[in-house]
Symmetry: C2
C-alpha cells in the first residue's frame, strides 16, 4: 500500500490553461491526467498524477469559475499560489474525533465526499501552523 | 521507479517543536523521520516521509534559526504556512535550460546540492503562478 504522507497539493490560479501549460513544462508532461469541473465548489480542476493517482504526491491546479468561489476569493485576497495541503489518514472519523478532542479547529466535523469519491474533511489553518489541511481517507486494499 | 510528481512540500513555522507535535498528530506518526540543521540556509528542518524517503510526497517543516534566515523573513512577512513545492525532474540541467529558453525566471541557473545530497534548483514564483518551486533531480536507479 502507498505510504507517502501527501495525497496532493492544491494551487490556486487565475487562468487554468496558462497554469496547465506552465506545470506541464515544469513536470515534463504533455498535459494533466484529469481535468474536471467541481460545481459544488465552483472550481475547475486539473490534476497531474504519478503512474497511479492513488500513489499520491499529485499537483492539483484550481481555478474559480464564479466570483464567490472560495478559490476566486483566495486569489483576489492573496494572489495565485499554494492553497491547501491534502494528507492521507487511515480512519477519517477517528482522526476528526482525536483532533476535536485535542481542541483543533475543524472546518468539517464530519467527512464529506471529495473528488473521485474518497472521504475528505478540512482542518482550519489555525490548527496546523497556517496551512489549510485537507484530510483524505486512504482507500483500503480491495 | 517512483513516479509521483511531488518530492516534498515545505512549511514555514515559528516553533519547530510545536509544529512537529501538530503534524505528527495530523499524520498519525510518533514523530518525524529526520530532524536536521541546515546552517547554510539558517534553518532547522523536520521531515515526515513515507516508507522510503525517495518515494516522495514528504512533509518538510522549516524553522529559521536566525533573523536573516529566508524562513524567518517569510514568517515575519506572511505568517506561518506553505512555503515551497518541490517537484521531481529527470534531468535538472536540461530542465533549467528549457525553462530559461522559455523566459521563465530562475533563482538558480545552475543546480546546487540540497539536503540528502540530491541536485536541486529554485524557480522564481513569477514563473509558476505564485508558487516558489524547487526542482529536485530524481535519483537514477543504481
Amino acid at each position: 500500500m502507498n505510504s507517502v504522507p501527501i495525497s496532493h497539493v492544491g494551487i490556486a490560479v487565475k487562468d487554468l490553461d496558462q497554469a496547465i501549460a506552465a506545470y506541464a513544462s515544469l513536470l515534463g508532461r504533455s498535459g494533466p491526467d484529469l481535468i474536471e469541473d467541481v460545481p459544488e465548489q465552483k472550481v475547475k480542476v486539473a490534476m497531474f498524477s504519478g503512474a497511479q493517482p492513488e500513489d499520491g504526491g499529485r499537483v492539483e491546479l484550481l481555478m474559480g469559475v464564479a466570483e464567490d468561489s472560495p478559490i476566486s476569493k483566495f486569489v483576489d485576497r492573496r494572489g495565485e499560489g499554494l492553497h491547501h495541503l491534502c494528507v492521507y489518514v487511515d480512519d477519517i472519523e477517528a482522526k476528526l474525533g482525536d483532533l476535536k478532542a485535542a481542541g483543533v479547529r475543524l472546518i468539517d466535523e464530519v467527512p464529506r465526499i471529495g473528488a473521485g469519491g474518497c472521504r475528505i474533511a478540512f482542518v482550519h489553518p489555525g490548527g496546523s501552523h497556517g496551512v489549510l489541511i485537507e484530510l483524505e481517507e486512504r482507500r483500503k486494499p480491495v
